[in-house]
Amino acid sequence: MEPVLKARNLVKRYGRVVAMDHADFELYPGEILAVIGDNGAGKSTLIKALSGAVSPDEGDIWLEGQKIHFSSPIDARNAGIETVYQTLAMSPALSITDNMFMGRELRKPGFRGKILRQLDRRRMEEVAREKLSELGLLTIQNINQAVETLSGGQRQGVAVARAAAFGSKVVIMDEPTAALGVKESRRVLELIKDVRSRGLPIVLISHNMPHVFEVADRIHIHRLGKRAAVIKPDDFSMSDAVAIMTGAMDPPEGMAA
């Protein structure tokens, strides 16, 4: 099967520090691929390279077989890769609708949209409401309330809904459950599964092993700036994964890079 997103030999140096050392990466259609790794293993750099926030010094990235080169997150978005950042990248004082459509607002048809450049609020609100209810986020009463009045889980939900609504090829999620409580984490994990069930492949970066083992189809283990192994959660235990991640155990034969 052809990977949706593929990277080969990515290298990124920051001064004398090598953050990525010939890293490879593959994401297949319809799967949840978890990326795990110790602090400083270079998984954020890898993800930033894939989402356009960092341009690698060497190496190539292919999206659906086409070689791509992103110089900003906007390029990646236009190519169909949506990222849910750990910081969520939302403007707290603006409404849910405003945030969902930030940078891709809909304008009214005809004179009012073309000449007066008026926004089509009603249509944006409709779409936002539809997308939120698709993911079971109807507990939010008012689509126009400011994001800062939402709880942490609800904010995360809105960010996931935004990515799912506009990501046409790949959704990348950076630590989506890190700042959340037990119940809210659960909701976000369900959201992630919902997004997959609609056919979108997901890259999930997480430190939380139980979450990773619960939702991931494959686990990409990053160590010392490169891919140490790719394992299936059914074949290995969490402690094996941690052992590979920290170098206490050699990567299994045939699974390595």
């Binding site: 910081t87 990248a89 403007s91 707290p92 930030m102 940078g103 304008r107 450049r117 009045t149």
Partner: protein, 360 residues
Amino acid sequence: MASNDRATRGPTEYESAASTSPSAVAEFDQHHQTLVHKIQHALHQTPSLVPLIVLMVSILIFGILLGSKFFSPFALTLILQQVQIIGIVAAAQSIVILTAGIDLSVGAIMVLSSVVMGQFTFRYGLPPEIAVICGLICGTLCGYINGFLVAVVKLPPFIVTLGMWQIILATNFLYSANETIRSQEISELAPFLQFFGNKVNIGGAIFTYGVIFMVVLVIVLAYCLRQTAWGRHVYAVGDDPEAAQLSGVQVKRTLISVYMLSGLICAFAGWALIGRIGSVSPTSGQLANIESITAVVIGGISLFGGRGSVLGTLFGALIVGVFTLGLRLLGADAQWTYLLIGLLIIAAVAVDQWIRKVSV
């Protein structure tokens, strides 16, 4: 298999627990909705409500104290005429402050633009229409330099505009050779420069074109900020520039456009200034930057960016005008005006901080 079983059962239990709790949370919320909370939420939604109420109350109080001396169409429109310049400049200041910046050079840009308009007409003999366009371009260019230094070179707006304030003001004095163009000369040879001084009289209420321009400008800006993508981006950039960048806003372009627009509006203020004082004077408008910031702050726009509305700024400017005229008609020392305005500034910022706590 057993572990798989547990993994699938665990989440379903979580789910059932999650489905019952949200309604309880909502009830809990309702229970604590006191009147104060409701006011806080209303202000959070429409931040220009505070200055509007203050404006209404102050008009009412001065109206009661002074009677028809204050409550006449003439006096009320006189306030509008007195605040027109500051109102226009404060509109420019508003959009800059919405991006969490500040523009200390607004007054200097205004004066330089008016001097360019005057000198281009009288020194080089250009038609006044062309000279006005040159002045507007001059203001926009000053704004562009501010925007470039803030957005691309990434210097703090305070420092950039503090420097530009001095640079533009010095340029203004050097270029004009400190020379005033007299009102008579302008009205004889180039009345177009005094365009904004023209008056419309509706039953004792006198509206200058400058006043009308100020009101139209605020309405247009309010529309742009509320109803266009550009406006939403201005708020997003002021709120959190990094988040805006990641969610696809062209932060640099937005910032530069804001400073350029601010410069252009200041140039219009310079044109209106000629209409207001009649002459072109390089020494006028020295306090415009401080007074515009005052109007913006009293108008409820947050100095931390991303919150407030330009309508509030208009109300803020009018509040200052009402206090100034009202206290003068009462025969009070002018210092009382400054004292009260100082109090208002501090109260406005305190209210802003309180509104921000709505989410906590």
